[in-house]
Symmetry: C2
Subunit: 143 residues, 2 copies
Amino acid sequence: MATVKDLFRDYLGKHGLKVTRQREIILEGFMGSPSHLSAEELYLRLRKDHPNIGYATVYRTMKLLADSGIASERHFGDRQTRYEPNTSDDHHYHLICNSCGRIIEFEDPKIEDLLQQTASDHHFTLSHQRLELYGLCPDCQAR
Amino acid sequence: MATVKDLFRDYLGKHGLKVTRQREIILEGFMGSPSHLSAEELYLRLRKDHPNIGYATVYRTMKLLADSGIASERHFGDRQTRYEPNTSDDHHYHLICNSCGRIIEFEDPKIEDLLQQTASDHHFTLSHQRLELYGLCPDCQAR
DNA sequence: GATAAATTGAACATCATTTTCATTTCAATT
DNA sequence: AATTGAAATGAAAATGATGTTCAATTTATC
């Protein structure tokens, strides 16, 4: 089976780009971290084991991961761009706690259908979608 | 009936803030412009008739409009924060063309119900939500 | 109208991200 | 294994949206 690493190598090859030590390290670091990290957060994590990896390289590589379809860019409330690995069963949405920042993912085929229907009604062809619910999680309500 | 202007004055008064010429000009400019303008775009528009209004003042006032509930901040694909007037019949969503940037608003009570249901399932109390569909509008598909 | 507190505008600060550019690395070839 | 040209790297500087500072001005209240 094609691993994510293979996918990335493929993508690089087909675009005249090179497989480098840094890109492999960054991909591994990304796959082995919790989802929704920002480029900076990933940089800080990688730094421990790889103090020689540059800030800009992490930014550049995250863009490549997004371009290659391995990751998706996400924007939540704050300023930073966050990345999450793309799963094959694509569409999921987010439930975000305003207080503790907890992020819960969920899916809903019924919602998905309705969204697709709406797009069709307006004669749009959809590329991607964003759905986020913000509120207080049970724990934070308790306080 | 209370106009938006009255609402804003009220808000300012109750918070020990002052009604100034600039704030009134900015509010009027905002209400008289297409929705989804960024602070910078509004600044550029206002500048024509009011060359003496400062950049920072527009930013500050837009924040006030958001705080007072008159406007809502929105983040679409790009970096800029955009503002839209708050209507009383709150929840609507956005359909955005990747190519020409056109923004279409829509509502859907069925979707709204499903979202509310999802939040309940996770014992979340919702504060706000964000739903955006990105794709190509009919015109841009034609090209 | 005097007064104190809030606001303004211009310049500067900030924060995430991007770009520049000299140096290094990769990969295809001799 | 050495050559070579294109692409990548890292450090520093640039960028772009937004925030903040501070002296000068304006507003609301007395």
